[in-house]
Amino acid sequence: MQPVIEVKNVGMRFNLAEEKTDTLKEFFLKLAKHQLHFNEFWALKDVSLTIEKGESVALIGKNGSGKSTLLKLIAGVLAPTKGEIITRGEIAPLIELGAGFDYDLTGRENVFLNGAVMGFDRAFMEKHFDEILDFSELGRFIDVPVKNYSSGMTARLGFSIATITNPDILIVDEVLAVGDERFQKKCEERIRRLLDNNTTLLFVSHNAEKVKDICKRAIWLDEGNLMVDTDSKTACDAYHASFENKNA
């Protein structure tokens, strides 16, 4: 069987201009001064990996190591500067808080909007609405605009919607860290159930215990380089050893 995610020699470059070029005047001024594309920054450098169906993979590494960039590339939000990414199947991305939410709309309206983003029509979402409301535990706050939600509430709603079906690929980027302990437990249970149903999980977390607990495999990224790609325990230990060495 073909792997669900293939990342082939992917590099991602960002331009770290001090200010964005938003106006024509600035554009031509910078063009004249040869200041366009000035500060290049490679968030990912020649990363290759394949993930098979049903695997649970964690991405670990310090802040700015390229974890979120890699997730966004896999989710199709960003296009790689170099290399190629192939994904097979439905992706439910939980990248950052409130991915796919319109903050001006109420929670209820966002359930339908977010569902539509994932390709579910209104009838389908209405059928599952009570289940979502129930799992998110939002109660009467469901009719409040999302901009007034706490980060925990946003995460709860997002997770409840994304996991309403069995997505082929579930991407979870730190969003669970903001929920309270009880809700985190609930989410983990649901993730395990999805894994049993052959969902592929991509998970970013700074919590080594969680990583070892939920994921079998872990990938350690450091400054855009793939350092280690092995079972989660070995990878976590290697990662921890790296900064303990620095401290010593």
Partner: protein, 264 residues
């Protein structure tokens, strides 16, 4: 090639609910907290027509060759308003949905497309105003009125193409949004909306006919106001810019969309 087509079909199926939701959201936002809601789509053109016919029939006294000036006016107005609203709305479609685009994968052209569609829905309500006006003006109805939708379809394609380009350009250069309001004003005076085509001087007539809106409106008026078959020149003047601008807009948008995410 086949794989590509399959992918398109798959995406079209997958994102149809999203287009629907976006249109619903646009309409909801438009009439939020207004007492009359959708009725405004009907009432607004009627009131505008009343004001403008009052002004122009007293100050300018155009020779209308036996057709009703208010009806002539509201036809041009309805079509131009659609073009104005849909392109203006599309222009902010990408910028306004930045929060969605930054975090989930959605084919980006969906946003300007949905904005154009929702303006089209609003315009179809406004067509009701024309239906109301026709009997009051005593305009005879001919079978040609059944063709009224033809220019609307081509106008939709044209507006969609223009909207796609504007939405992409506005991401890179916000100046466009300010410039466009001037362009649209000039465009309005350049299009026979409130004045009859007969006042256009002969030596400028060719220039006026290069304006696609001229033909969309002419086609619509031929079927509704004049009750005659539009000339083949008018047919061509609608179909060619409609299809060409739509395809061109799509291609330009596809070229420009790659780096959106870094700018919004």
């Amino acid at each position: 090639m086949k794989r590509k087509l399959e992918l398109w079909a798959y995406q079209a199926r997958k994102f149809r609910p999203l287009v629907k939701e976006l249109i619903k959201r646009d309409l909801k936002v438009k009439y939020r907290r207004s007492f009359l809601g959708y009725v405004w789509s009907l009432l607004n053109p009627l009131l505008m027509m009343a004001v403008m016919s009052l002004v122009f029939s007293h100050f300018f006294r155009f020779q209308m060759e036996g057709v009703s000036y208010p009806l002539y006016l509201i036809c041009g107005q309805t079509l131009f308003n659609f073009f104005n609203e849909s392109t203006n709305q599309s222009m902010f479609a990408i910028l306004g949905n930045a929060t969605l685009l930054k975090k989930v994968y959605i084919p980006k052209f969906i946003f300007p497309l949905a904005r154009t569609l929702s303006s089209f829905v609003t315009m179809s309500f406004s067509l009701g105003a024309i239906v109301i006006v026709i009997p009051f003006t005593g305009t005879p109805i001919t079978p040609y009125i059944l063709l009224f939708w033809v220019p609307l379809v081509f106008l939709f394609l044209f507006s969609c193409g223009v909207g796609l380009v504007l939405s992409a350009l506005s991401v890179y250069f916000r100046d466009i949004t300010h410039l466009y309001s001037v362009v649209i004003l000039a465009w309005m005076y350049f299009t026979p909306i409130f004045y009859p085509t007969t006042i256009i001087p002969d030596h400028l007539s060719l220039l006026f006919k290069l304006n696609p809106l001229y033909h969309f409106i002419a086609f619509f008026r031929d079927t509704v106001v004049y009750g005659c078959m539009p000339s083949s020149a008018t047919w061509l003047g609608c179909a060619v810019p409609g299809v060409v601008v739509f395809l061109l807009g799509f291609l330009i948008f596809r070229k420009l969309q790659k780096n959106f995410i870094l700018y919004i």
